[in-house]
């Protein structure tokens, strides 16, 4: 997994609630092989018209947001399908962190496992962040995972919660399967104790 320690980037405002994984990566592209990359399909129907031309009104097609690594979203970001491709697609367009009021549970897990940092902040702080983005075109945020802080170029600073294990894995770039292989003995003991039906 790609480690995450600190990041400074322009932040992209996508202030919509319930942005689901079908919007992040439409289902019709899921049959593509992962190694070919999912970047072109990320937010496909929001970013592009049917003929493939860019939609100029979509925020990711506007300067200074192209290539930004931090997305500021509404509530329940990544709800819906468990497709991990939604995380891959965001990563393939350069996104390393998403800040939102809340996340879909499965998307949240998928993001953490793959080195995409999902940060949830309470509604009041999210409103301050979004207000800052409206006031300052190209506002940057700095994320410090070790300190669990988000600071904006506008002078605002917020602490964010994160599970201790997931934080450790992100900071170290630790792979979950490699971690679990250390406990195969316990798994074997469990299987001996309780034969699965």
């Amino acid at each position: 997994m790609l480690a995450f320690t600190r990041l400074q980037s322009v932040a992209v405002p996508l202030a919509l609630d319930n942005v689901d994984t079908d919007q992040i990566l439409p289902a019709r592209f899921l049959a593509q092989k992962r190694e070919l990359g999912y970047g072109p399909y990320c937010f496909r129907d929001l970013r592009y018209q049917a003929d493939g031309a860019e939609r100029p009104d979509f925020v990711l097609n506007q300067d200074p947001y192209r290539g930004a690594q931090v997305l500021i979203a509404g509530s329940n970001f990544g709800c819906g399908s468990s497709r991990e491709g939604a995380v891959y697609a965001l990563q393939d367009i350069g996104v390393r962190a998403v800040i939102a009021e809340s996340f879909g549970d499965i998307f949240y897990q998928n993001a953490l496992i793959n080195g995409l940092l999902p940060i949830h902040l309470p509604a009041g702080q999210m409103q301050l962040l979004l207000a800052g983005l409206r006031d300052e075109l190209g506002m940057t945020v700095e994320i410090d995972l070790a300190g669990q802080t988000v600071a904006t170029s506008g002078g605002a600073a917020f602490d964010f919660p994160i599970d201790a294990f997931r934080k450790h894995c992100l900071l170290e770039g630790l792979d979950e399967i490699d971690f679990t292989i250390n406990y195969i003995g316990q798994i074997e003991q469990y299987e001996a104790w309780r034969q699965p039906m």
Binding site: D105, F165, Y183, I187, E191, P196
Partner: protein, 469 residues
Amino acid sequence: MPPGETVPRSLFDKLWARHSVMEHPIAGTLLYIDRHLLHEGSRNGFALLKRKGLPVRRPDLTTATADHYAPTDNRSVETIDVRSRREIISDLSANTSAAGIKLFDLAHPRQGIVHVIGPELGLSLPGLTVICGDSHTATHGALGALAFGVGASQVAHALATQTLWQKKPKQMRIHLTGQLRPRVAAKDLILAIIARIGAAGGTGFAIEYCGAAVEALSIEGRLTLCNMTIEAGAKFGLVAPDEKTFDYVKGRPFSPTGDQWHQAVASWRALASENDARFDQEIEIDAGTVEPMVTWGTSPEDSVSVNGCVPDPTAIADPSRRASKQEALDYMGLSAGMPMADIRFDRVFIGSCTNGRIEDLRAAAEVLRGRRAVLPALVVPGSMAVREVAESEGLDRVFKDAGLEWRMSGCSMCVGMNGDLAKAGERCAATSNRNFVGRQGASVRTHLMSPAMAAVVALHGHAVDVTRS
């Protein structure tokens, strides 16, 4: 608490404790997985495993089916005109064959949607942990299982270790009192729940459904209820197993038999939540007040009674939420205050892991019998076994005589990835679970409803209260 007394436990507590391999000081609980169900989307999971050079640890506890990309007009992979779709089905065959995993492929008489065949075959049972790389895995919780969806990395983790690291969520109990009125279905009930608590209302929770209305539901109704728990934000949805559950499970191909059956039932009886079990949140809804529901927006929380009107987003105080709902109305081509019954449809889809079971098809057929549809419609059974039963009951004739298309099993129009699509800009009445932007095809407008309501739309071209028609 007096000495010797234990803390009263919920169904979820018992299932969690029973499957805890170990507790790690920071990683949480290492949960053992009794059943790992796979579909074509498992390809990335197998690829991760291959990169690590690891074998599948318990192929005997792993089962696969082709459903998401399955063509429903025939059973031949060769007829699929998109190479990537052919390949993903072929990859499932290759990956499962190499690992020694049982596959219900397109040629198999028991093939079907993973969340339909799991319970149907007795693969999913009370007291088990069930995972699948699909968010609707909570469906299996209707039998009293701890079932949840995962992504590709966790698919790989489970293939490699037969376990997953999980942090125990909070618990919510939803009491459904009273009784559903005739022709009001489990689908209406879950849409009403989601409208009440919101699409994120269950985030971070496991939800147990209980009460007289749940007890009165058939197992298929409970499967529908638990299926859409993820649409309320929760990845776990459960119903305590009871006599109905045991009757449903008994005699299925993978169910225990003989002495093992009696032992299993004895252990299953002990799973129900104890009287004073603690829940972090409790909600009560009178099922008798629920009317046939129809969604109007682009989230399952956007639903109202068929007798209601499209809500007005300007009444929403929160600016972000207001903007989202206005955007939903714009996408759906609707205006605030419009009666739901005035919405004109172009197409109907009856099927999916939510509503593709035999009772769902019977409910739709009851409405359609002896009448003619005015809209094109697909009826897609959730499994080939469901299709066989439906045909033995003559339901296929009812659908065909009404002008509907009778298909083979698969996920079909629920998700626009297998060739079954609505046309751009069309409005589709669907018995599936998601009305997201573009879910059934680019710029398609999806309205969720029950099978009986979808059948009514097929007949009239617009929604009519099925309890009055």
